[in-house]
C-alpha cells in the first residue's frame, strides 16, 4: 500500500465498500427507456408520434388478420359470416380463400393423390444440399448430393426410371473421358473430351438407350406433364434449379473472364455483358416466344425447361461478376504463392484462390440468389402459373372474384420465409468462415 495519503489524511478506509444497488432511475428498463426514448423533448415527441403510428397500424392490421374468417366457400359467404359475427362495416380478412385453394397455391395443378412426390423431392433436395452447406457432415454424402438432382427430377415428373439414370450416366462417361484424355495427352485434351463426349452421348446414345432399357425392364411411376406444375412448386423448381446450376456456371465464367486464353476470355466477357445487359423479362419472352419460331414445328421443347435455362444464364452472369469481385479483392501475393508452391492452375484455384474469393463473395452470391428466387414470379408474364399467376386465376372464379390482399399476404409470407432463411444461412456461414480478426 502506498503511503501517498498517509501524510495528507488522517484516515484511509482499509476495505472496499460493498456494491450498492444503482438508483431506480439508473437501471434496467427504466434506464434504457430514459436513455433511448425519452432523453430530450425532441426524442419524447418522436417517441410519442412513433407509438401512435405503430398503434394505428397494429389496431387495423391485427384484428383484420386475427378475426379473419376461415370457414366460407366464397367471398359472398365470407361477408355473410362476417356480418353475422361482427356486425356490418367491420373489415376482416377472408382467409377462407387460402383454406380453399392452398393446395393450388403450393402445387398448381399437380395431381392431388401424388402430392407426396414433390414433398419427397423437397426432402431429397434438403438431404442433398446438407453436406454442401454443413461441412461437419461426412464427405462421402457428397455423392448423394450429385445424385439428388436426378432423383428429384424423377420424383417430380415421374415416367420411366431409366431416363434420369441414363442421363446421369453421362456424368460418369464424362469423368471417364477426362481420365482417358488426361492420360493420353494432358489436362487440355482431357477437359475437351470431358465436355464433348458426354454431349455426344446425350445427343445420340441416350435416347435409344432409354427406350431400349424401358422396353426390357419397364420400371416407372406416373408421368406428370409440366403443364400441371404451378404455384410455389414452380417457383421452387425454377429457383432451386437456377441457383444450383448458376453457381458453378458463374464461377467458371468469372475464371474465364480472368483467363489469359483469348477465346475463352472474350466468350466469357461477351456472355456476361450480353446476358446482364438485357432485362430478365426480355429473356423470358425470348424463351417463350422467339425460340418457338426457330425450332422446327412440332418440337416439344418444354417451356419450363426453356425458362430454367434462361433464368440460370441470367443468374450466372450476375454470379460471375460477384465472384470476379471476390477474385479481384485477393492480394496478388496469393496467386504468386500458388505458383511458388508449384501448383498447376486447377489446383491453385481449388486450394488457394477460390476458397478465399468465394468467402469474400458470399454476401453478394446469396443476394443474387434471393433476387433470383423472387424474380421467378416474373414468369407470370409468359403465362406460367406461379403463385402470382394462380392468384389471378383464383380471382377469376366467380367464388373468389374481388378478393385481393389475402392472397398477396399468403404469398408474401411464404416468400419471406424462404428468403429470410437464405439470408440467415449466409450470415452464419460468414461468421463460421471468418479466419482473421476484424
Amino acid at each position: 500500500m502506498s503511503d501517498t495519503h498517509a501524510q495528507t489524511q488522517p484516515f484511509v478506509r482499509g476495505e472496499m465498500l460493498p456494491e450498492s444497488e444503482p438508483p431506480l432511475a439508473e437501471k434496467g428498463a427504466v434506464k434504457w427507456l430514459r436513455e433511448n426514448l425519452f432523453s430530450g423533448w425532441l426524442n419524447i415527441l418522436l417517441t410519442v408520434v412513433s407509438l401512435y403510428v405503430i398503434w394505428v397500424v397494429l389496431s387495423t392490421v391485427v384484428p383484420w388478420t386475427v378475426l379473419g374468417i376461415w370457414d366460407a366457400d366464397s367471398l359472398t359467404g365470407c361477408r355473410e359470416i362476417r356480418d353475422a359475427r361482427y356486425g356490418e362495416g367491420m373489415e376482416v380478412a377472408c382467409w377462407a380463400v387460402i383454406a380453399d385453394r392452398w393446395q393450388q397455391l403450393l402445387f398448381g395443378f399437380y395431381p392431388r393423390d401424388l402430392y407426396a412426390r414433390p414433398v419427397l423431392a423437397l426432402l431429397v433436395f434438403f438431404a442433398g444440399i446438407a453436406p454442401v452447406l454443413f461441412t461437419g457432415l461426412p464427405r462421402k454424402l457428397l455423392w448423394g448430393s450429385l445424385a439428388a438432382p436426378f432423383v428429384m427430377y424423377w420424383l417430380l415428373w415421374g415416367g420411366s426410371i431409366w431416363g434420369p439414370i441414363v442421363v446421369a450416366l453421362g456424368l460418369a462417361v464424362g469423368a471417364l473421358a477426362f481420365q482417358v484424355g488426361n492420360r493420353a495427352q494432358g489436362a487440355l485434351l482431357g477437359g475437351i473430351l470431358a465436355i464433348v463426349v458426354p454431349i455426344l452421348y446425350w445427343l445420340f446414345l441416350a435416347g435409344p438407350l432409354i427406350r431400349a432399357l424401358a422396353s426390357v425392364l419397364p420400371i416407372g411411376i406416373e408421368f406428370v406433364p409440366s403443364d400441371d406444375f404451378g404455384g410455389f412448386m414452380l417457383s421452387f423448381i425454377i429457383g432451386i434449379a437456377g441457383i444450383t446450376l448458376s453457381l458453378p456456371l458463374g464461377i467458371l465464367l468469372a475464371l474465364g473472364r480472368q483467363s489469359d486464353l483469348f477465346i475463352i476470355n472474350k466468350v466469357s466477357v461477351a456472355f456476361i455483358e450480353i446476358i446482364r445487359g438485357v432485362p430478365l423479362i426480355v429473356w423470358l419472352f425470348t424463351a417463350s416466344l422467339l425460340l418457338n419460331y426457330f425450332l422446327p414445328p412440332g418440337t416439344n421443347f418444354d417451356l419450363m425447361l426453356r425458362v430454367i435455362i434462361m433464368v440460370t444464364f441470367f443468374a450466372s452472369a450476375y454470379i460471375a461478376e460477384v465472384v470476379r469481385g471476390g477474385l479481384a479483392a485477393l492480394p496478388k501475393g496469393q496467386y504468386e504463392a500458388g505458383d511458388a508452391l508449384g501448383l498447376d492452375y486447377a489446383k491453385s484455384m481449388r486450394l488457394i484462390i477460390l476458397p478465399q474469393a468465394l468467402k469474400i463473395a458470399i454476401p453478394g452470391i446469396v443476394n443474387t440468389f434471393i433476387g433470383l428466387f423472387k424474380d421467378t414470379t416474373l414468369v407470370v408474364f409468359i403465362g406460367l402459373l406461379d403463385p402470382i399467376g394462380l392468384s389471378n386465376s383464383i380471382r377469376a372464379t366467380t367464388d373468389w372474384n374481388g378478393i385481393y390482399w389475402e392472397l398477396f399476404v399468403f404469398i408474401g409470407i411464404l416468400f419471406f420465409i424462404c428468403c429470410y432463411s437464405m439470408g440467415r444461412y449466409s450470415l452464419a456461414l460468414e461468421r463460421k468462415l471468418t479466419r482473421e480478426n476484424r
Binding site: 400441371d228 412440332g298 383464383i394 372474384n401
Partner: protein, 339 residues
Amino acid sequence: MKTSVFLGALTVAGFAAGASAAQTLDDVQSRGNLNCGVTTGLVGFAAPDANGVWEGFDVAVCRAVAAAIFGDPMAVEFVPTTGQTRFTALASGEIDLLARNTTWTFTRDTDLNNEFVGINYYDGQGFMVPRDLGVSSALELDGATVCIQTGTTTELNLADFFRVNNIEYEPVPIETNAEAQQQYLAGACDVYTTDASGLAATRATFEDPSAHVILPEIISKEPLGPLVRHGDNEWGDIARWVLNALIAAEELGVTSANVEQLAEEGTDNPEINRLLGVEGELGAMIGLSNDWAVNAIAAGGNYGELFERHIGESTPIGLARGLNAQWTEGGLLYAPPFR
C-alpha cells in the same frame, strides 16, 4: 450478320412451309388431345376451379371442339396465355385453337395471319360510376378521372370517345382488373372503364353492387371469338362449325338434355337430323364422325345453356343476353344453315 439474317429467314420459311403442310386435325388426333389457349383467368370466361379443372364460357368452346373430335370433352390441354403471348403461341403451333376473349379486328385477322372462326360473345366497352356521383350518361363525365387498363384497345377507344365528344378526362393507368377494382373502390378514380361483361363481373363482387351504376353508353364494338392460324382451312372449318352447331342447336331447340334422344329417334325437322347426323354425312365432310355435333352439344349444352351456366343471369355475373340473343329474338346470333 448477313448469315444470321439468312439463317433466321430460312428457319422462318421452313416453319411456314411446315405449318401450311401440317394437318392440324391429324396432329391433334395422333396426340390424343386438343391444345387450347385460354386466358390465365377471366371471370366467367376461363378459370380453374379448386380441383384445377378449367371452366368458363371460352373454355366451353374448347371442350365442345374436343368433344366433336374425340367424343370426350375432357381431352383438352389448356394453355394459359397472356395478352402478349397469345398470338405467338398460336402461330408457333404450341396451341391448336385460341379461345381467349379475343376481339376480332382487321389487323389481327390479316396482318397477324389468324383466322377468326366466328363470334361467341358480342361485347363492348362501358363505364361504371358510383351512384353517389349522380351521373346518368357518359357525356356528363367532363373532367372525370378514369381507371383504365394500359396497353389494351379500351385505352384507345376511351381516347377516341372523349375526343369525339369534346370532353376532358384524366386517365389513371392500372395493370390488372383486380388492381382496378381496388383503385376504384378506394376512390382513386371516379370512373372504371372496360368491357361491359367485365364491368358486370366486377360490380357483382362489390359489397354493395347497387351503389354503382353501369352507364348506358357502349363506346366500342368488341366481337370476341375463337381463332386458328392461317394455313389449315380444314381445321378452321371444324372450329367454325362446332361453334355454329352450338348456336344452331339453341335455335333448333336441341339441348344437352334431349340431344341423345333426338339423335337416336330422329325428328321431323330435316335440319336437326342433318345436324345430329341422323340424315346426311356432314361429319365426314369435315373429317369427323357423324355424331360430332351430338358430342359437342352433349359436352356442355347448346349456346344458350353455356351462356346461362357461365355468365348468364342465374350466375353472380348476371349478364343479360342482349346482342348475344338469337336473331329470332332480336340478337345477332345467326348460324348459317346446316345443309
